[in-house]
Symmetry: C2
Subunit: 160 residues, 2 copies
Amino acid sequence: MTHIHNHSNCIQTALNNASQLCSQRGVQLTDIRKQVLELIWENHHAVKAYDLLERIKPLQAAAKPATIYRALDFLREQGFIHRVESLNAFIGCCDLKTAHEQLLLICKQCNDVEERHADLVMQALAQELRNAKFVAHSKSIEVHGLCENCSQTFNEEISA
Amino acid sequence: MTHIHNHSNCIQTALNNASQLCSQRGVQLTDIRKQVLELIWENHHAVKAYDLLERIKPLQAAAKPATIYRALDFLREQGFIHRVESLNAFIGCCDLKTAHEQLLLICKQCNDVEERHADLVMQALAQELRNAKFVAHSKSIEVHGLCENCSQTFNEEISA
DNA sequence: ATGGTGATTGTTACAATATAACATATCATG
DNA sequence: CATGATATGTTATATTGTAACAATCACCAT
């Protein structure tokens, strides 16, 4: 994620892609699902399920935990979002086209989550799994730390 | 993890190493902490905090959630256990000597968790983090699937 | 030995995350 | 417009994890 970008593009792209893929797949991007996806895309932070619940209530007065978790399940099955395991939280998937296995870089400072393909990491991992004779069904690679911007800020602060 | 092994060795080694490291570090491996570590090492499955709570009650009648979570915090700080993020569960660390960043292979069938060094994966990841200019504080790599034994069993079943 | 200090544990209460189960409504299609 | 599948409403509860403060214990200097 570059620090400065036109985020409304991100949202629009995500919604358009999801909409199109749902049509292709014959599944329904209902109001609730779309609203949840839109709320997740409000920024590049990982979002908690109960935060989504609070934020969807103006739109869906009847919303309950199950409302959110069902929408999240759907969006995950369709590959539109990732679950950040180490945070019990969720982020929009930036890359619906290619393989849905990515590296997540989670900044402790600004809370942004950056998604990266990291082909070489995935290749090395695939080799390691062959060595281990382990048949993988799903992979999660999550790194916590400071993103480029925040580590710069940090350095400026301590040298000031 | 090989399927057949003398597990009492695993437990003894883990407890001895922990004990020795605590002495070196001037921290206390109290009864509770030792008992929790021993319970975690009862097998190579990931263990849930509240399962530990039930299982420590015969030994510590007063045990409450905080009892377990405090012990888990301590054991993690000391690097004696890993938290399996994708399971909200914990396993003993098999490798106290080298870097504490490993690949966890989690079998859906038998629930065993295998820890692997995966140097090449870590190298590729380090390179990717340099590319991203991301300063890592902690890493979690978790793969769900079938271990060697269980995938063999599975193949035998479907060919039978 | 003894008293002070920080570390550890006891205890109560509660917050945060997630699911089960069943009723109702909506949709897509014949 | 009837029907089955999909989606949502609703209530209740299970699971996971913390906060806050009191009591106790371990260690060290005197």
